[in-house]
């Protein structure tokens, strides 16, 4: 039996709490994602999927309800605890890559390990391995502005894997790429998922991409309206 990696129960997220224009962005969300699942969260813009992603990624705390990440309650965590959780448990992949400028690919991949307190030698070694894994070993000394979009995203995926987190959280990872490179990036996610059995959560508005995953959670107006199996190959449980 796989463990529950994400366990949300009755989670609300409100803004302007207590004012007349209080906004209820997420309403009573209950969502459980198990270790090793490849899940996509889909919804149109304004549906609340970004807010949900921020909560899952421990960038924010729920207004109400409970959120257990790998069994740990996020509700009452301090900023430092949240930073440490992000560092150890979550690998972020962004639509706009968000590589650190003026740092070469190698340094970018090293960064999460730097924050995790890994020594310099180990950092460099692992960073090289990861860049090889994503096929970027040739360009590890290139700066972000010397890389194409697809190459940047591959470096970003390597960076997300740096601290070997159990969760990969990707926000529209192919949104800034043409279809061919987008395909390549998606293949890379599939490969990482199959080889490492990480929980991969893909946030997207693209239904075709969502269909590739094992499970599709659809969100609209802050509520989960659909949660079904996708066309992706299911991991044996």
């Amino acid at each position: 039996m796989a463990r529950d990696m994400i366990q949300m129960t009755g989670v609300d997220k409100n803004y302007f709490v207590g004012t007349p224009n209080e906004l209820h962005i997420l309403k009573k969300i209950s969502l459980t994602i198990q270790e090793g699942e490849f899940v996509s969260i889909v919804g149109v813009s304004g549906s609340g999927k970004s807010t949900l992603m921020n909560l899952i990624g421990v960038l924010d705390r729920p207004s109400a309800g409970t959120y257990l990440l790998d069994g740990m309650p996020v509700n009452r965590m301090t900023d430092n605890q949240m930073s440490d959780i992000r560092c150890e448990k979550i690998g972020f992949v962004f639509q706009t890559f968000n590589l650190i400028p003026r740092n070469d690919a190698l340094k970018n991949v090293e960064l999460p390990m730097l924050y995790a307190g890994v020594d310099a030698k180990t950092r460099t070694r692992r960073s090289r391995e990861l860049l090889e894994l994503v096929g970027m070993e040739e360009r590890m000394h290139h700066q972000p502005n010397e890389l194409s979009g697809g190459q940047k995203q591959r470096v970003a995926i390597a960076r997300a894997l740096a601290n070997d987190p159990p969760i990969l959280l990707a926000d529209e990872p192919t949104g800034s790429l043409d279809s061919a490179t987008g395909r390549m990036v998606m293949d890379l996610f599939h490969r990482v998922h199959e080889e490492s059995h990480k929980t991969v959560i893909l946030v997207t508005h693209n239904p075709a991409l969502a269909e590739e995953t094992e499970r599709i959670v659809t969100i609209r107006d802050g509520e989960i309206i659909d949660d079904r199996a996708g066309g992706g190959k299911a991991v044996s449980r």
Binding site: N54, E88, F92, F94, N98, I100, R102, L111, L114
Partner: protein, 420 residues
């Protein structure tokens, strides 16, 4: 925290914005440069002044008649009251009695009196002079160095002989170096007193930065005549100051105290005046205190420059934080604690200030070198001041980098990631 990584990152960032980085550093460069230049020029001038004064003789003490009301308020060497007359001054008898009393501690005593400025003339040849009446002891208590002939003797004084010791400068002015000046007569004119003197000796004129220049640029040199001859013309027969050379090295403060207490008894009956002795140390301290005051004033200006420079650094750091909002958001998402972000920006500010400080030291040394060569003194760079400058510029970085760094560290990661 991650000092090396952050320092490398900061340097890379500075390189990417060379012009902006340089302009930011400019305030620090000017401030630190000013500090270095002021301190090293000040040191050089003080060294030169003390050098010039030590030429007078380290164990020379000068005893002045000073007004009683000014006695405790100043170490100023300007003396000579407006209402002073012979009864307020020191008589030769008093000097001789004093000399007798401290015979063990005094190696020589000299009286001297400046008469005034004038010139010697022979046809179209002339030389500016300053007439000084001296006694033979003067050679001992002054820095005069003879190059030809002899100095004045007791016999010259006793017989009121019209003899003079002149400078080599006067000799070259008057004789164009063609003949031996010893035994030659020169006619001098000073404030209505015209008289001819026979040259018995020539001393070496040393150009001093402290004075002796005339408007025309020709130096005014001392024209040493017997004190007895000078006194024939002088208004007063007594002396308002005299010099002595002590046997103990340094003309110690203790001996000065003894002299002061001796003369306070001699002058006990005088309600307005008493005597005050000065040794090299007390004269030096008055010079250094003047230098100190000037230094403090300019240091205050340098401090303002550094303050303005620091504000410039803060300003550019705030711009940098705004420009790099997304980067900060990314770093936070990747697990950077707030304190790491804060450290990153403080290190960056410190690096800016440190580079500015080092460039400022170079700039300051250059300024000091130019200044020193204009004044004609040797360049002195004080290592502790350099060290202090480096440390101080780092402190500026920490102080003015803290607020922008704190602002960066407090950014909400979600807002920061979304920032365009």
């Amino acid at each position: 925290m991650f000092l090396k990584e952050n320092a490398l990152l900061a340097v890379a960032g500075l390189k990417a914005n060379r012009m902006r980085s340089f302009l930011t550093m400019l305030g620090i460069i000017i401030g630190i440069g000013a500090v270095i230049a002021i301190v090293s020029i000040g040191d050089a001038v003080t060294a030169k002044v003390s050098d010039a004064m030590s030429g007078i003789g380290a164990n020379v003490i000068q005893v002045y008649v000073t007004p009683r009301d000014a006695k405790n308020t100043t170490t100023d060497v300007t003396v000579g009251g407006t209402n002073m007359d012979d009864s307020d001054m020191i008589s030769m008898d008093q000097i001789n009695a004093f000399r007798k009393k401290f015979a063990d501690e005094i190696s020589s005593v000299s009286v001297q009196e400046s008469y005034g400025d004038g010139k010697v003339q022979d046809g179209h040849l002339s030389s500016n002079i300053s007439v000084v009446g001296v006694d033979p002891g003067y050679l001992d208590v002054s820095s005069v160095k003879m190059v030809k002939g002899r100095f004045l003797r007791d016999r010259d004084i006793d017989a009121n002989r019209r003899v003079v010791v002149v400078s080599d400068r006067l000799v070259s002015d008057m004789f164009r170096g063609s003949t031996d000046p010893i035994g030659k007569e020169v006619s001098m004119e000073v404030g209505g007193w015209n008289e001819s003197f026979t040259i018995v000796g020539v001393y070496k004129y040393e150009r001093s930065s402290l004075g002796g220049m005339t408007v025309s640029g020709n130096p005014r040199t001392s024209f040493y005549i017997p004190i007895s001859v000078e006194k024939e013309q002088a208004q007063y027969q007594n002396y308002y100051y005299f010099s002595l050379k002590s046997k103990s090295i340094g003309g110690s403060d203790a001996f000065c105290k003894k002299i002061d207490s001796y003369f306070s008894k001699v002058f006990a009956g005088n309600s307005k005046y008493t005597c005050q002795s000065y040794n090299m140390e007390s004269m030096m301290s008055s010079v250094t205190s003047v230098m100190g005051t000037i230094s403090v004033a300019i240091a205050a200006i340098a401090a303002i420059a550094l303050l303005v420079g620091g504000i410039g650094v803060m300003n550019i750091m705030l711009v940098s934080v705004t420009e790099r909002t997304r980067e900060i958001g990314t770093r936070k998402a990747l697990g950077a604690r707030n304190s790491y972000i804060r450290a990153q920006f403080i290190v960056e500010a410190v690096i800016i200030c440190l580079i500015g400080g080092v460039l400022g030291i170079g700039f300051g040394v250059l300024l000091a070198w130019i200044g020193d060569s204009l004044i004609g003194v040797k360049l002195v760079v004080s290592f502790p001041v350099v060290l202090f400058s480096v440390g101080f510029s780092m402190l500026i970085g920490i102080f003015f980098g803290y607020y922008p760094a704190k602002k960066a560290s407090r950014l909400d990661p979600i807002d920061a990631l979304r920032y365009e």
